[in-house]
């Protein structure tokens, strides 16, 4: 069964520029909002992913971040709070040839939408989910979100929040995600690389973007992104390379098999050499090391990792679905009259 009545003779991919992905509607985020930098990178990256504009769909829920599709010149659905992955899943399963992105916020994806989030990760549906994590509900003007810090004071928690936050990559990995990455709004180039990697991944892809909300949660990430500390507080995971950080790149991560724990070491001190360091490999089938790195952001004294935690190729839900459909068609043919008639019919003259 075909879903379209269009002549889908394969035409060559146009050469796109960034502006081909701008809808012409001016984004209405607050001045200085990190969302601007995200849309900028998305629009910059899309020309290079090799998919026709009309075959790309942006699906979002509700939130500041979820206004995203209106500003893109693709097909788009601005849906209901938390539910974007549900729409995206139906769309992708029924039209596997489309490239489907979910643009979502921390509340949208992880509060009301937590279930759809973990299920889209579990299913390994080829949907790219970009979560703008400002650790606050922006659109509703400043309540605690599931990524807000414990004891955080917000409008809905005037004496502080009694809730522990999720570590989103950890949750995604726990749900079985095959691609998990983290980046930061102020790191344009890094974000671009993550978006490209996600676009290239076949299967569910999750990118957490640390995003500043200057109005309701200003400076949520300055303790990481401040020029003065950035090198010490952020560690960049690069494929095949040892995990090093620090101004001079001399600090590194080593796994101590005796304590079964991670430790921070300094190259050149106590006989530590680069060979002792953990080498980043996001393609390990077993996610344990990805878990360990993802969990690190919450560990006192450890740097926050950005980059790709995990990137493993497995058959996707929609691939397997359509394989079964094709198989069944081959086996059974699909004669509707036979289906209507069934096995036990009788005739009245």
């Amino acid at each position: 069964m075909s879903t379209t009545n269009l002549q889908t003779a394969p035409t060559a991919l146009p050469v796109y520029a960034k502006k081909d992905f701008e809808s012409g509607v001016d984004p209405r985020w607050c001045p200085g909002c990190g969302d601007y930098s995200i849309i900028n990178q998305v629009q910059k990256t899309l020309p290079a992913v090799g998919v026709k504009r009309e075959n790309i769909v942006f699906v979002s829920g509700i939130g500041c971040s979820s206004r995203f599709p209106y500003y893109m010149n693709n097909y788009g659905m601005h849906t209901l709070h938390g539910r974007a992955p549900a729409f995206a899943s139906g769309l992708k399963v029924s039209r596997p040839e489309l490239q489907v992105w979910v643009m979502t916020g921390d509340g949208d994806a992880l509060a009301i939408g937590g279930n759809h989030f973990i299920h889209v990760m579990r299913r390994n549906l080829d949907v790219k989910l970009v979560m703008f994590n400002n650790r606050i509900y922006g659109l509703t003007k400043g309540q605690v979100s599931p990524t807000s810090e414990l004891h955080k004071k917000t409008k809905s928690t005037p004496q502080g929040s009694p809730d522990y936050p999720f570590n989103p990559p950890l949750l995604a990995l726990g749900a079985g995600a095959t691609f998990v990455a983290r980046t930061i709004d102020v790191e344009g180039a890094h974000m671009g690389a993550m978006l490209k990697a996600a676009a290239g991944h076949k299967g569910s892809a999750f990118i957490e973007v640390y995003q500043n909300c200057p109005v309701f949660n200003d400076g949520a990430y300055t303790s990481l992104t401040d020029k003065a500390v950035r090198a010490d507080r952020i560690i960049r995971m690069e494929e095949g390379k040892p995990l090093v950080f620090g101004k001079d790149g001399k600090k590194g991560l080593r796994f101590d098999a005796r304590t079964m724990d991670l430790e921070i070491v300094t190259i050149g001190e106590n006989g530590v050499t680069e060979q002792d360091l953990l080498v980043h490999d996001s393609t390990r089938e077993d996610p344990t090391i990805s878990f360990m790195l993802a969990g690190m952001a919450a560990r006192p004294g450890f740097p926050t990792p950005i980059g790709v935690f995990r990137n493993v190729r497995k058959p996707t839900c929609e691939e397997m679905t359509w394989e079964m459909i094709e198989d069944t068609k081959k086996k059974r043919g699909g004669d509707l009259q036979k289906l209507l008639s069934g096995g036990d019919s009788w005739t009245i003259k």
């Binding site: 075909s2 879903t3 379209t4 601005h78 139906g90 039209r95 279930n115």
Partner: protein, 620 residues
């Protein structure tokens, strides 16, 4: 065949309808017995209707009252509208089954009992203080046949090498054999059916055949049973099969896929009694059906809306609690004006309620249960086979008018069955689905997703179509460009336009046909699954010379154009419903001045013809 060789001369009485109920423990195979006898009746050319009565969802201890499973069949030589009120024949395999069902047996009806099962232990499990078979009033009120089915089955299978558990599993064929004899059904046919059924376990073919034949022989030789013949009915010529409402619904959607050449997408989450629609459609992949078992009902409808945006003919199936969960999503489908069918197989509520029992109490939720002004068409199937046509019709309306449509069925329709005249695929009405392919505004230079046609329908432009990229969403949209708009007057216009569009659907709602005279003393107005009972009651009343007519509402929103005029032609209007009066309220609100009488049963069962007839006679 030996059974024929020993045939004795019995007087064969001709009857025109019979209602039989098979009841026993969950493990007694009553659903199978019922289905097999149903097939035999169908093949004999009878019209028929069936209704299974499953026990509550979890398997109960053997012999307990909770574990009783039943199957009722009404067949006859005239048009059969319902599975029958009270059975003429009750086949009861154990005390618990007898206890739960005897009160329903018609006075003077026939009771066939597996008397072996009336052990002290089983009687106790059923809560009987003494053996009801020894109760003289039973024998006075009914024609009782005590048959030692267990022993007779064992005898038939002596030396078969089957374990006693396996032997027990054959017992239901003994009962079936008796009934085959009683209703003059051809034995050969059932023998073949058994061979087919156990094709994969050939060691059970012969034993079951043996038991079946033993039952038949018992009927013949025991000289205690009457023998009947029910002549074939005059159904419209054609090829028929027996379908449940849920299966018919699935079939209707699959047929849509074939007629349109498009993908039909079902996003669903299992829930009693709607689950079979998912089961069946999942097994229709080769016909263009894609099913997706979502993580919950919200994702079920959400995935369907996503698929609809992608151009699929999308549907979702559920029951009351699931419909409740889909409420917010339905609002989104209304405002985005995407085609979608939501099937609600109603069950007893509120809340989890009585999941295996039928009810019609989701009506007002279907019509009004969304926040904001969010009207949508509501259609209700009237019989199991009509579910096929209703599913197709609902999808047609959804696509033609770019709107979500609710299709109401219920547990009674979904699980009940009746003969379905198999349509010829090639003769089914065409169903073309067209997507927008070009720009529609300013001489083809722009695309306006909310530019409506004269019927107020907006275009369906799907991903993959170059140049028509646009965004849909739940915020109010500008009435032309589809951009987000907070303008109050635009909102008012959009609210009114959406409402008018749904009112316009009336052009596809056929006028009602009045069954009976178009004026009279009383008009029965029914909707949904009560069609059969109410029509049958009307027949009874008309036969008694009462000035009673009947109209049945398949379309609930919009209501048929001529309903208002019809209502005026009757002194009284009576609305029978399996709820507390929801349609009656709706009609009052829709037709000021009309104040229908109500007949409401909310006991988990379809309305009984005789109860309704009684009510009408009382109020006439």
């Amino acid at each position: 065949m030996s059974t024929q060789a020993t045939a004795r001369k019995t007087e064969v009485q001709q009857v025109d309808t019979v209602t039989i109920r098979f009841v026993g423990d969950s493990g007694d195979g009553m659903q199978l017995t019922g289905t097999e006898f149903t097939k035999a009746s169908a093949l004999a050319g009878n019209d028929l209707a069936t209704f299974p009565d499953y026990p509550a969802e979890i398997r109960a201890p053997a012999g307990s009252l909770f574990g009783v499973s039943g199957y009722q069949l009404n067949f006859g030589s005239k048009k059969i509208l319902t599975p029958g009120d009270a059975p003429d024949v009750l086949v009861a395999m154990n005390p618990a089954a007898l206890k739960m069902n005897l009160p329903d047996l018609k006075a003077g009806g026939m009771l066939i009992v597996n008397s072996d099962a009336f052990t002290a232990l089983n009687l106790e499990k059923a809560g009987y203080k003494s053996n009801p078979l020894e109760d003289p009033t039973v024998a006075e009120n009914f024609r009782v046949h005590l048959v030692d089915m267990t022993k007779l089955t064992e005898a038939a299978l002596e030396g078969s090498g089957l374990s006693s558990k396996e032997v027990g599993r054959c017992r239901n064929y003994f009962a079936l054999g008796i009934l085959y004899w009683m209703y003059s059904r051809p034995v050969e046919q059932q023998l073949q059916a058994i061979a087919k059924k156990f094709a994969k376990k050939p060691e059970f073919v012969e034993p079951n055949q043996k038991v079946f034949k033993a039952g038949y022989a018992y009927g013949e030789t025991a000289e205690i049973f009457e023998r009947y013949v029910v002549p074939p009915s005059k159904l419209r010529p054609g090829t028929y099969r027996n379908v449940t409402g849920n299966f018919a619904t699935a079939l209707g959607f699959a047929t849509v896929a074939r007629l349109t050449g498009r993908t039909v997408f079902l996003g669903s989450y299992p829930i009693t009694p709607a689950t079979e629609i998912l089961h069946e459609m999942a097994n229709m992949k080769e016909h263009g059906v894609v099913t997706y078992q979502a993580e919950d009902e919200i994702a079920g409808i959400g995935s369907a809306i996503g698929a609809a945006f992608g151009g699929a003919l999308a549907c979702t199936s559920t029951s009351g609690p699931g419909l409740a969960l889909k409420t917010e999503m339905m609002g989104l489908a209304v405002i985005t004006e995407l085609p979608l069918v939501i099937v609600d197989v109603q069950r007893g509520g509120p809340s989890t309620g009585m999941p295996t029992k039928t009810e019609q109490a989701d009506l007002l939720q279907a019509i009004f249960g969304r926040h904001g002004e969010s009207p949508l068409p509501v259609l209700a199937a009237q019989s199991p086979a009509d579910c096929f046509w209703s599913a197709m019709e609902a999808m047609r309306i959804a696509v033609k008018w770019m709107t979500p449509v609710i299709l109401l069925t219920d547990g009674y329709l979904g699980n009940g069955s009746e003969p379905f005249r198999i349509p010829d695929v090639e003769e089914l009405p065409k169903f073309e689905v067209k997507y927008q392919t070009g720009k529609n505004y300013a001489n083809g230079t722009e695309f306006m997703p909310y530019l409506r046609d004269e019927k107020l329908v907006r275009p369906w432009a799907i991903p993959g179509t170059p140049g028509l990229e646009h965004r849909v969403g739940g915020l109010e949209k500008d009435s032309l460009t589809g951009m987000v708009s907070y303008d109050g007057l635009n909102h008012e216009k959009m609210v009114k336009t959406r409402a008018q569009k749904i009112r316009n659907v009336v052009e596809d709602v056929p006028d009602l046909e009045v069954f009976g005279a178009s004026t009279g003393d009383l008009l029965l107005v029914s909707w949904g699954g009560t069609f059969g009972s109410v029509r049958a009651a009307a027949e009874v009343l008309q036969a008694q010379g009462k000035k009673v007519s009947h109209v049945h509402l398949r379309w609930i929103n919009p209501l048929p154009k001529n309903l208002g005029a019809i209502l005026k032609g009757f002194g009284k209007v009576l609305v029978p419903e399996v709820n507390d009066g929801q349609m009656a309220f709706y009609l009052r609100g829709k037709f000021p001045g009309v104040d229908p009488l109500q007949f409401n049963r909310i006991n988990g069962k379809p309305i009984k013809i005789r109860d309704l007839v009684g009510k009408v006679l009382e109020v006439l």
